[in-house]
C-alpha cells in the first residue's frame, strides 16, 4: 500500500508525459499534413492565377471563342455552364432529396431497399464517362433529344444524384431522435413531423450535399464531350424571356452549347502559349464560379439555420 502510494505519483507523471508527447507528435504530423495539402493547393491555384490573371478582362467574359488567342473569350462557355448547372440543380436536388427522404424515412427495410441502398452507394464511384455513354445511348439516340443543354444538365444530374441521396440520408440520420419523438408525442402525424421538424433541421446538411454534388458537376468534361457538346460556338442559346407573350420560353433547353471545362481542355492542348494563358484564365474563372456557388450555399445555410432556431 505504502509502496504504491510512493510509486503512484512518479508512475502517473510518467504516463502523463508519455501521453503528452504522443499528443505533440500527432499534432505535429497533423499540422505537417495540413501544410503539405494546403501548400499543394495554394501552389496549383497561384500558378493558375499567375498564368491567367492577365487575361481576365471584361472582354474575355463577353467574347466568343476565336482562332486569335488575344480576342478569344468564354462568353458561350460560361453561359453554357450556368444554364447546364441550372438544369442539373433543378433535376438532381428535388429527385435526390426525395429519394433520400423516402429511403430513410418511409421505405420498409427489406432485401429490395438494401439492394437499392448498396447500388446508390456504388453509383457514386462510377466513372463519369460511363454516365456520358449512358446519356449518349439513351437521351441522345434512343429518345432522340439531341446534343442539347437539357441533355447536358440531365447527365450531370444523374452523375451527382448518388451524392445528393447519400448526403440527404446522412443529414436525416443526424437529426436528434428526441426531436422526432417529441413531435410524435404531441400528436403530429408522419407528414407533419417530416415537413415541420425533420426536414428543416436536416436542411443545412442536405444543402451541403447538393453543393458538393454541383461542385463536382461543374468541372466535368468527359460526359459532356461524350454526349457531343461543342467546342467552337459563337452564338448564344435563345433568350428565355421575351417581350411578347408568353414571355418565357424554354427553347434554350434544346440549343447546342459548350462549357468552361471543354474550352479549357481545348486551349491547354493548343501549340500557342497564348492559348495556355486563356486556359489558365478559364480555370481561374471556373474556380470563381464554383466558389460563388459555394458562397451562395453557405449564405443559404446560414439563413436557414436562423429560421430553424426561432
Amino acid at each position: 500500500m505504502s509502496v504504491t502510494a510512493l510509486g503512484a505519483p512518479a508512475e502517473t507523471q510518467r504516463l502523463v508525459l508519455q501521453k503528452k508527447a504522443q499528443d505533440l507528435i500527432f499534432g505535429t504530423i497533423g499540422v505537417l499534413v495540413l501544410f503539405v495539402v494546403m501548400g499543394l493547393l495554394l501552389t496549383l491555384v497561384s500558378d493558375l492565377v499567375v498564368d491567367g490573371a492577365g487575361r481576365i478582362t471584361p472582354e474575355f467574359l463577353t467574347s466568343f471563342p476565336s482562332r486569335r488567342a488575344a480576342q478569344a473569350g468564354v462568353l458561350s462557355a460560361w453561359i453554357g455552364t450556368s444554364l447546364v448547372m441550372i438544369v442539373t440543380a433543378v433535376v438532381a436536388v428535388p429527385l435526390g432529396v426525395g429519394a433520400g427522404l423516402y429511403l430513410e424515412e418511409y421505405a420498409p427495410k427489406n432485401i429490395l431497399t438494401d439492394a437499392i441502398e448498396i447500388n446508390v452507394s456504388n453509383l457514386a464511384g462510377v466513372p463519369s464517362i460511363i454516365y456520358g455513354l449512358l446519356a449518349l445511348g439513351f437521351f441522345v439516340y434512343a429518345l432522340g433529344m439531341g446534343q442539347t443543354i437539357l441533355v447536358g444538365g440531365l447527365v450531370l444530374a444523374l452523375l451527382i444524384l448518388p451524392i445528393v441521396i447519400v448526403a440527404t440520408r446522412e443529414a436525416l440520420r443526424a437529426v436528434p431522435a428526441g426531436l422526432r419523438e417529441s413531435a410524435y408525442g404531441i400528436g403530429a402525424n408522419q407528414w407533419q413531423v417530416m415537413w415541420n421538424y425533420i426536414l428543416p433541421s436536416a436542411r443545412p446538411g442536405i444543402l451541403t450535399g447538393a453543393i458538393v454534388g454541383l461542385s463536382r458537376a461543374i468541372g466535368e468534361t468527359a460526359p459532356i464531350i461524350t454526349i457531343g457538346a461543342l467546342t467552337y460556338i459563337a452564338f448564344l442559346p435563345p433568350s428565355p424571356v421575351s417581350a411578347s407573350p408568353p414571355f418565357v420560353n424554354f427553347d434554350w433547353l434544346n440549343s447546342p452549347f459548350t462549357v468552361m471545362p471543354i474550352q479549357m481542355f481545348n486551349w491547354v492542348s493548343r501549340p500557342q502559349a497564348a492559348f495556355h494563358e486563356n486556359a489558365a484564365a478559364t480555370g481561374v474563372l471556373l474556380l470563381g464560379m464554383t466558389l460563388l456557388m459555394n458562397g451562395f450555399a453557405i449564405y443559404l445555410r446560414y439563413r436557414l439555420r436562423r429560421t430553424v432556431r426561432t
Binding site: 440543380a89 435563345p238 433568350s239 434554350w252
Partner: protein, 338 residues
C-alpha cells in the same frame, strides 16, 4: 423556401443570358447553322475558317471535338455536315456511311508535317533515316532498343527516352504507317500523350529524349526543341517546315488533313456549299491555315478541290487504306480527272 430561391437564381441567370443574347441576334429568324465536328488536329483550321465565314456570311458555324472516329460516326448518322479528319476514312467507316445512305466527298483541307524532335542539347541526331527511326519505334524494339548506340554506330551509349502520340490519335496512325510500315504498329514502352505540349516539355530538357509531334508545336516551341532532318530517297536531308511540306519534299512524314463533306448536306443545305467555296478560296484559306500553324495546300490545288466538290465526286482516294507520300494534288487531281 429553397425552391423559391432556386427559381430566383434560375431567373437571374436566365435574365443574364438574355442580356447577352440580344446584341448577337441581328435577325428574328434563326440563321442556318453549319455543323462541323471531328479531329482535334483539324479543329483549329475549322475554328479559323468557321469564324471568318460566320463574320462574312451571317450563317452560324459550330465546331465540335469528337475526334476523327467520332466525327465519321456523326457524319454517317447525318448529324453533321462536315467531318474533319487527320487520316483517311477507313473501309468499315465508309461502309457504315454507305449503309446509312450517306455519301461523302473527300477534300484535303490543309497539310501537316510530323516533326521528329530532340532537345537542343542533343548534338548528334541531326539527320536520321526512316530505317533508323523504324529501329527505334517498331514493335520488336520494345524492351530491346533502349540505347542511342543501338540506333546507329557512333551515337553515344546513352539511354534513349521516347515520347509519342497516344494510340487514339491520327498522328499515331500516320507515324506508325509511315515509319513502321503498318498502321498502329508501335513499341509500347514510351511516354504516350494526346497533348503534344507534354512531348515538348519532356524532350526540351533531356538531351537523350526523342519525340514526334505536329509541325505547329515545333514552330511555337522553336527554342525548346530541335527538329531532326529526315534523309530522303535521294540522300539529301530535309527538315520539317511549311515550305518542305507544301512542296512534298519532306517525306514520308508530310500528311494531308481532310474534310469529309456529306453529299446530302451539300445538296440540300446551301450554306454548306457556300462554306466550301469560302474555305477553298486561296485568298481566305492560305492566310487562315497558316495563321493557326498548318500548311496551306499548293495554290493550284484549291480550284481543283472546288471542282471536285462541285462535281460531287464521292468516295475515298485511299479505298479504306492509308497511303504515305500522297500529295494534295494527287487527292484532288485524281478525282477531277476520273
Amino acid at each position: 423556401m429553397r425552391v423559391t430561391l432556386l427559381i430566383g437564381v434560375a431567373a437571374a441567370a436566365l435574365a443574364l443570358a438574355a442580356c447577352g443574347d440580344n446584341p448577337a441576334k441581328p435577325g428574328a429568324a434563326a440563321p442556318a447553322v453549319l455543323l462541323i465536328d471531328g479531329s482535334s488536329t483539324v479543329y483549329p483550321i475549322s475554328e479559323a475558317l468557321g469564324e471568318e465565314f460566320q463574320n462574312t456570311s451571317g450563317a452560324r458555324v459550330t465546331v465540335g471535338l469528337s475526334g476523327t472516329g467520332g466525327g465519321f460516326k456523326k457524319l454517317c448518322r447525318g448529324e453533321i455536315d462536315i467531318a474533319g479528319a487527320s487520316r483517311p476514312i477507313k473501309a468499315e467507316e465508309a461502309k457504315a456511311c454507305a449503309d446509312a445512305g450517306i455519301e461523302v466527298i473527300e477534300l484535303p483541307v490543309a497539310l501537316d508535317a510530323l516533326a521528329v524532335v530532340v532537345s537542343p542539347q542533343n548534338t548528334f541526331a541531326d539527320c536520321m533515316t526512316v530505317d533508323e527511326l523504324k529501329t527505334l519505334w517498331q514493335p520488336s524494339a520494345q524492351g530491346k532498343i533502349s540505347n542511342w548506340s543501338q540506333v546507329r554506330a557512333g551515337f553515344p551509349a546513352e539511354p534513349v527516352k521516347l515520347f509519342g502520340a497516344g494510340t487514339d490519335s491520327g498522328t499515331f496512325d500516320y507515324f506508325t504507317k509511315a515509319i513502321n510500315g503498318e498502321e498502329g504498329a508501335s513499341r509500347g514502352d514510351y511516354t504516350a500523350t494526346e497533348d503534344d505540349n507534354v512531348t515538348i516539355n519532356g524532350v526540351s530538357g533531356d538531351a537523350d529524349a526523342l519525340g514526334y509531334l505536329g509541325l505547329a508545336y515545333l514552330t511555337e516551341n522553336a527554342g525548346k526543341v530541335k527538329a531532326v532532318q529526315i534523309r530522303q530517297a535521294d540522300g539529301s536531308c530535309v527538315g520539317p517546315s511549311a515550305a518542305t511540306a507544301r512542296n512534298a519534299s519532306y517525306q514520308p512524314l508530310s500528311r494531308p488533313l481532310f474534310y469529309y463533306v456529306s453529299k446530302k448536306s451539300a445538296d440540300e443545305r446551301p450554306h454548306v456549299a457556300a462554306f466550301i467555296k469560302f474555305a477553298f478560296d486561296p485568298t481566305h484559306a492560305e492566310p487562315l491555315v497558316s495563321e493557326v500553324g498548318y500548311v496551306p495546300l499548293p495554290t493550284a490545288a484549291y480550284p481543283l478541290a472546288i471542282a471536285k466538290f462541285e462535281a460531287r465526286r464521292t468516295g475515298s482516294f485511299f479505298d479504306g487504306g492509308s497511303k504515305v507520300g500522297v500529295t494534295a494534288e494527287d487527292l484532288v487531281a485524281d478525282a477531277a480527272q476520273k
